[in-house]
């Protein structure tokens, strides 16, 4: 216990902190500039000086550790004089352009000058001139205003871990540069904007458009881009989001955001937003009214249900819709349409992996607290780049690495390139081999956990069957490090699920997770992939992950919903699509997703959907899928709705309506109106009302209320019943990897600046990354004499695409990478697939391609 006195007030500290922090804890404010809560002390600006008894000089409180018996004064004439002098120094070169500076009103320098600054200037010389820089997308930099606090540099290096900003030159000529993604590794997270106390780094999205004090409202909400679910405050004026700002102390992102979260909100105002329902008349979709459109849908679905039964109807839910939307959707499908054919695009990754892991290891296994990564001494990253799929989760891995953790990466993760400590290079598409080998090595070294779990038996059996020995670069080291570590996090990306033999990697990872008692994390590209499952939008589970096949569970829901639920498991996503092609599936209801674009093999998907008798699409844009629909219903984007998302840690968070719009209707509201028309009344008043029902029926969300969600952290099981246990028996399938001997393959890239297709309607993100690129390795580029930006035509057996290349030294020589975000230029469209027989996810590996200049 440390006791010190600040301004006559006695302060007790449990753990050693700086004098500045001690003062803050006691409610005493000391002015600072270079200090920032997320950053280590720097001690450069000298504004925070205080007097300490028995110390001859004034001390900077931000760097001075509080010590027992210290007597500190934070205000005196001498201190005020020094602060005035410091501010005078800072002002001599700082342009006095507050009237045109966007920071005015929230500028820390301005505030300090108001309180301590000199009334007039004595500097008559010429000020330093620095040209304003527009070299970067999104960021406007005005280093003339810079006060060299270096907060941006430290933020970029120590917290974001991108190291795109450095101090250039020295002394008074110091400027903060270079940023630019073109040749430096700027990730456009914009955390430097948060860090900058003055107007040196600003977002061009809001520059010159408003003053911070001219806001109509500030809404505390969460980001709808990925499964991390960062918190932020959206500032709104005239029902338009002007900017989003993360707040320190809020959410698990604690003041940080990624490019998508910070700059990606513009899609909501895109001119292509659907405004009224559309009905197909021949080849055209024509504007209609809600009544006509809903009547038509109700009529058609009833007709199909009556003639073919519920099994001929399928529903595709959305991981961008809320828990409330999805819950209402599955209830509608199950009860009003009489089918369990409900799935989502998550089946291509998250849902498939989640089901497999939960089946083997028990419910909740794949959902751990992101903060745990930072405290790991080893992080194993498999099949995806956390730093681009879930950027803020990626930061935890970087933080762990900085704190000395070992980081091993199997797969393509350029965002961790400088952080990985172990290099493992499995042959192309054979990651499962190395994981299996690793599992056996770990098993042989450590044995099973001896608690006789099904997984232990399965691993022993697997061990017996396994014959070959895998000898791969880095395997030995990886095994040793894993065995030496006490606290391991495994971060599992979807690249390994989208394999014909994806279940092999999943089994091996499950085994490793179990034997090493590791924390498992699933990367989640969309905001509500966990929620869509929890809500029951899966063919085999009712809300709360209760197996449909168990009559007791089914009965409970039937009691609550007062209608029977079909007792056979429904079809998975790809089965529904394939069923459409075969003619078994007559009607599909797609809420908030775009399978034509987001699934492999475009031609096939289109043909399948065209074979349907009736297709309904509910969306905010006229997507490739909506274009094929018989009825299109305009919905709301996430900033326009209230509801909840459940992130990849199974944290339930409130999405608060940020802007009002007249464009569309809440997804749950559309569905419930439709349901009423089909004879099953759903009379919800608002999203909260839907949650009231969920919290009554779903064991995972038991007794959850919006009030509690906004008051405290809510992770399921929430006041819940016990979770489901693990599998009783696991069938071990021993397979060998296929051989891949084509010259070149196409693989899917998950870019940092885009997600789905909404990012492309966001001017901020399009400014950062305006066009798709085919990423090719250095060697291939040399062989084909390609330079960054050259155009090529890539051909696969499902089609070809003309695209520009960018050279990426981290790309394996035998693959090229392409994203699936840009209209007409999505990689999935030209890739074929084979279903993984176990997970039912489409495997897209091994798509041979050729490349030519064009």
């Amino acid at each position: 216990m440390i006791t010190l006195t600040i301004n006559g007030k006695e302060i007790r500290l449990d753990k050693p902190v700086t004098v500045l922090k001690a003062a803050q804890q006691a409610g005493i404010k000391i002015p600072t500039l270079c200090n920032h809560e997320l950053l280590k002390p720097f001690g450069g600006c000298r504004l925070c000086v205080v007097e300490v008894e028995r110390m001859p000089k004034l001390m900077t409180s931000c760097t001075l550790m509080a010590a027992d018996g210290m007597v500190v004064r934070t205000e005196s004439d001498t201190i005020a004089d020094v602060r005035r002098a410091i501010l005078e120094f800072l002002l001599i070169n700082h342009p006095l352009d507050c009237p045109v500076c966007d920071k005015a009103g929230e500028c820390e320098l301005q505030d300090a000058v108001m309180q301590y600054g000199p009334p007039t200037g004595r500097f008559i010389e010429e000020k330093r001139k620095v040209r304003e820089s527009h070299d970067d997308p999104i960021l406007a930099r005005n280093m003339e205003r810079c006060i060299v606090c270096t907060r941006c540099v430290r933020m970029c290096e120590d917290v974001q871990g991108a190291s795109a900003i450095s101090m250039i030159e020295r002394g008074g000529r110091t400027v903060m540069e270079p940023f630019s993604s073109r040749s430096f590794n700027c990730e456009y997270c914009g955390n430097c904007i948060t860090a900058c106390p003055v107007g040196s780094i600003l977002s061009r999205l809001y520059m010159h458009s408003y003053r911070p004090w001219q806001m109509d409202k500030e809404v505390e909400t969460i980001c709808g881009y990925c499964g991390v679910g960062c918190s932020f405050v959206a500032q709104v004026r005239d029902e338009s989001i002007k900017r989003v700002i993360p707040r320190i102390g809020f959410g698990m992102n604690n003041g940080l955001l990624c490019s998508k979260g910070r700059f990606g909100y513009g899609f909501i105002e895109d001119s292509g937003r659907l405004k009224t329902p559309l009905i197909r008349k021949g080849d055209a979709l024509v504007e209609s009214t809600w009544d006509d459109a809903l009547d038509l849908v109700a009529e058609k679905l009833t007709e199909i249900k009556d003639s073919y039964g519920g099994r001929a109807i399928g529903g595709i839910a959305s991981a961008r819709c809320t828990n409330e939307d999805n819950y209402v959707f599955q209830k509608f499908m199950r009860v009003a349409c009489g089918t369990n054919n409900i799935d989502s695009i998550s089946r291509t990754g998250y849902a498939a992996a989640q089901k497999y892991f939960e089946g083997l290891l028990g419910q909740g296994i794949n959902a751990n607290i992101i903060g745990g990564i930072k405290r790991s001494d080893m992080v194993l990253v498999l099949g995806g780049d956390p730093a681009s799929v879930n950027p803020v989760l990626g930061l935890s891995i970087r933080a762990a690495a900085k704190a000395g953790a070992e980081v091993a990466v199997i797969g393509h993760a350029p965002g961790l390139e400088r952080y990985k400590t172990i290099n493992v290079l499995p042959p192309l598409f054979k990651e499962a081999d190395i994981l299996e080998a690793l599992l056996l090595e770990v098993f042989r070294a450590r044995g099973n956990r001896g608690e006789s779990h099904a997984i232990d038996r399965a691993v022993s059996e697997f061990d017996k069957e396994y014959s070959g020995k895998t000898d791969m670069h880095g395997l030995e080291e990886l095994k040793d490090k894993l065995l030496k570590s006490d606290s391991i996090s495994i971060v599992f990306g979807m690249d390994l699920v989208q394999r014909t033999d994806g279940h092999r990697a999943l089994f091996a990872t499950a085994g490793l997770t179990h034997l090493l008692e590791a924390r498992l994390y699933l990367l989640s590209e969309r905001p509500n992939e966990q929620g869509v499952i929890d809500a029951g939008c899966v063919p085999d589970m009712l809300p709360g992950g209760r197996p449909l096949g168990i009559p007791d569970f089914r009965r409970r829901y039937e009691d609550a919903w007062k209608r029977p639920i079909p007792d056979t498991e429904g079809m998975t996503l790809m089965e529904m699509i394939e069923g459409a092609k075969k003619g078994d599936m007559k009607a599909l209801y797609i809420m908030g997703d775009n399978p034509v674009f987001n699934l492999p093999d475009r031609t096939f998907i289109k043909e399948s959907l065209a074979s349907l008798d009736f297709l309904v699409v509910q969306d905010i844009f006229l997507t490739e899928t909506a274009e094929l629909a018989d009825v299109v219903l305009p919905a709301l984007g996430w900033p326009e709705k209230s509801g909840t998302y459940t992130n990849l840690e199974r944290r339930i968070q409130l999405l608060r309506k940020t802007v009002e719009t007249t464009s569309g209707m809440d997804d749950w509201s559309i569905i419930s109106r439709l349901s009423c028309r089909m004879g099953y009344d759903m009379l919800y008043t608002d999203a909260e009302n839907v949650m009231d029902e969920i919290s009554r029926v779903s064991p995972l969300y038991r007794n959850l209320s919006y009030k509690e969600i906004s008051d405290k952290e809510c992770l399921w099981p929430y006041n819940g019943e016990p979770l489901r246990g693990e599998a009783k028996d696991i069938k071990v399938i021993k397979e060998k990897s296929r051989d891949y001997d084509a010259d070149l393959y196409l693989a899917l890239d998950k870019p940092l600046f885009h997600s789905g297709s909404i990012s492309q309607r966001s001017p901020g993100l399009m400014d950062i990354s305006p066009e798709p690129r085919l990423k090719i390795g250095t060697r291939l580029a040399e062989k084909m004499c390609l330079k960054d930006g050259d155009n090529v035509i890539i051909s696969a057996d499902r089609g070809s695409i003309s695209i520009r290349v960018s050279i990426d030294p981290c790309v394996n020589g035998k693959v090229v990478l392409m994203s699936n975000n840009f209209k007409e230029k999505g990689a999935l469209g030209i890739m074929g697939y084979n279903l993984d027989p176990v997970t039912k996810a489409p495997g897209i590996e091994g798509c041979a391609v050729t490349l030519r200049r064009g």
């Binding site: 540099v153 190291s163 250039i168 030159e169 540069e177 270079p178 040749s183 430096f184 400088r418």
Partner: protein, 149 residues
């Protein structure tokens, strides 16, 4: 160049420490530190490019713009100044058209004004490339520079 950098890495417990030596090597190889040269160093040491650039720009002996074939580093700090270094500086301007920080048109010389180069006892002094010349006068400086083509 890469081989040389590899050897240097071994002398330190951490690869980053090889940055200054590596920048010297790159500067010798390319004459100056272009963005490409710094990128090569960044790759060789697995460091962020911005860090390499930030570090290089801190030190006055790293040249971030193209330089002439011969680099004159003239000291004008106090001991040299009071013994006439400024007259030498003017002479370089008048005779060679050489301004501090500049390069002659024929690319023969670049001039950098140095802070103290530790030759105060034999002031004024300059380094031409890595050769030290002391007790400079308006007469002997022309003769010395004549040796550099």
């Amino acid at each position: 160049m890469l081989k040389e950098i590899e050897d240097i890495k071994a002398k330190y417990p951490d690869t980053r420490a090889a940055l200054l030596p590596a920048l010297y090597i790159a500067q010798k190889e390319f004459g100056w530190l272009s963005l490409d040269a710094m990128k090569a160093v960044a790759n060789a040491l697995n460091l962020p490019e911005s860090d390499v650039r930030g570090t290089a720009s801190f030190y006055s002996m790293f040249r971030l713009k193209p330089a002439g074939r011969n680099l004159i580093q003239l000291c004008t700090n106090i001991s040299c100044m009071i013994l006439g270094a400024e007259r030498l500086r003017d002479l370089l301007k008048d005779r060679y058209g050489l301004l501090p920080g500049g390069t002659t048109e024929d690319g023969r010389f670049s001039l950098v004004i140095m802070e103290c180069i530790g030759a105060c006892g034999t002031a004024p002094a300059m380094l031409v490339n890595t050769d030290l010349y002391e007790n400079l006068t308006e007469h002997n400086i022309a003769e010395i520079l004549g040796k550099y083509k």
